[in-house]
Amino acid sequence: MRRISRLSKPSGARLASTTARPLAPLCVQRTARPSPSTPAVQINTLRFYSSRQPDPLPGSLSSGKPEVPEHNVVEDVLVEERVAVESYDQLSQRVFVPPPRPSVAERADEITDTLYTPATTAEGLESIGRLGSWWDDPEHWPETSDFVGFTPKQKVQEPVLLEAAVRRALTETLAMKQLGREEQMLGHWGLQDKAQCDAVLALDVRVDSEGNATVTGDLHSVGDVLSVEDGPTSVDGTYTLPSAAEALAWKQQADQSWKGASLQDARLKFAVIKRVMQLTGQVVPDQKLADIATARGLLATIAKPPKAKTFSQEIETKKQDLVGLPNVAFSPKRVTKGHKDQALGRFKLIEAEFRKRDLQDGPLSVPKSREQKHWKGEA
């Protein structure tokens, strides 16, 4: 009895007998240019998006584009293609070496050479059309092509530093706004050195009763530094914030009224949060964005202590009312027999007696990795 039902005859088999045209080589099917029916996307925004590239504005913040007439669509596509190819070339010079462009073989039915005979089997044919180990070569894909993040790798957690970062971001944003550079306010800002950071923190921020904040001082120097495109792009390894001691000294001297500055303006809020993210690595969740109305609210959102890894750590740090009681002994690690002996003062005596009898040459406690050694087959 047949267990597997018969397969229906493939439709291609009937066609193959009638089709005299040989199959074209695979390399012919690879096209160097994208299809004109689909608009080309800039390659650098796809794979290599980083803080070095000019940031495209969010849709809600950028001004609406006028509608393009239909007759210009083809020209626009061509222009976009050209831009994409140029940006690809520029990018490839900086970050990687692209593989050679694919060569297109002549179609078998268009070959004029009378001696040419199409092959019927793959035996003896040269293999073409693949990249091989091109990307495995470190010269083609150097370390400089690594992703450069917008935020630092290590998040800033210290409340004093976060406060300094929010104050700095607010001051810089207000300065850009007052200078009339609103488009640059939403763009990518450069990083500064220590002197400029201190100068920004020293600027006076005044907040009126309605929450409108203004900055007074040398705003042009702040705006000019922020607008500089050529500068360190990676936050890691560059000066972003003062040390904790300096920030504490600054906080004790500074007026705290700046925390009441209103962030109701969406562009202002975006610019401040973007800068805080760049300086501290603290990302504000989307669902909390609408609740942030002032600089104080932003501080409360990001200045949260890190979550305890274990329950023991949580008890140690947060439950001082329990740990501090005189009749409560809390141990974050497992209490062993050795600990009990030590508490009773018996441990030293046991060790001494062992030493006398030459039975134990070391501490009584067994190292933690003893079992792990056994698992690995070690002695």
Binding site: T310, F311, S312, I315, D321, L322, L325, P326, N327, A329
Partner: protein, 137 residues
């Protein structure tokens, strides 16, 4: 002459004159990660602080016991111990177990099959064949 034992002036009873809590120490063990310790961890967070404050005569030793069920061990002044596993219990249930350990005497649990128990001597005394006037057979 019959031999008479020395008469007791008083019988020591805990609570008459002074009360000494029999439970001297309570070991509280939990696990950081296991689900059976969820109630115990909540008990430590919410109830233990107040419970320890109200019982200064008891020493509380809180420590983790990784990969094991949570347990409470009462140590008593008679040298005995009493352990209760509180896996998967609610914090309120664990509080009741802690009160049970606090109130326990530490004695081995014995079956009580008499309606009345007393520490007082028998009024009639203990009969002895060697004492008294004797009996004519």
């Amino acid at each position: 002459m019959t031999i008479r034992a020395l008469e007791k002036v008083s019988v020591g009873q805990n609570g008459i004159g002074a009360f000494i809590l029999q439970c001297k120490r309570l070991d509280i063990h939990y696990c950081d990660h296991s689900g059976s310790s969820r109630g115990m961890n909540a008990f430590i967070k919410t109830h233990l602080s107040k419970f320890a404050q109200t019982h200064p005569a008891i020493e509380f030793a809180v420590s983790p016991r990784p990969r094991k069920h949570p347990v409470m061990i009462g140590h008593y002044i008679n040298g005995r111990q009493k352990a209760i596993c509180v896996a998967n219990m609610e914090p309120s249930q664990i509080l009741k177990k802690a009160e049970l350990l606090r109130d326990a005497s530490g004695d081995k649990v014995k079956r009580v099959n008499k309606p009345v128990t007393s520490i007082n001597e028998s009024v009639r005394g203990v009969w002895s064949p060697y004492h008294g006037n004797g009996m004519a057979v």
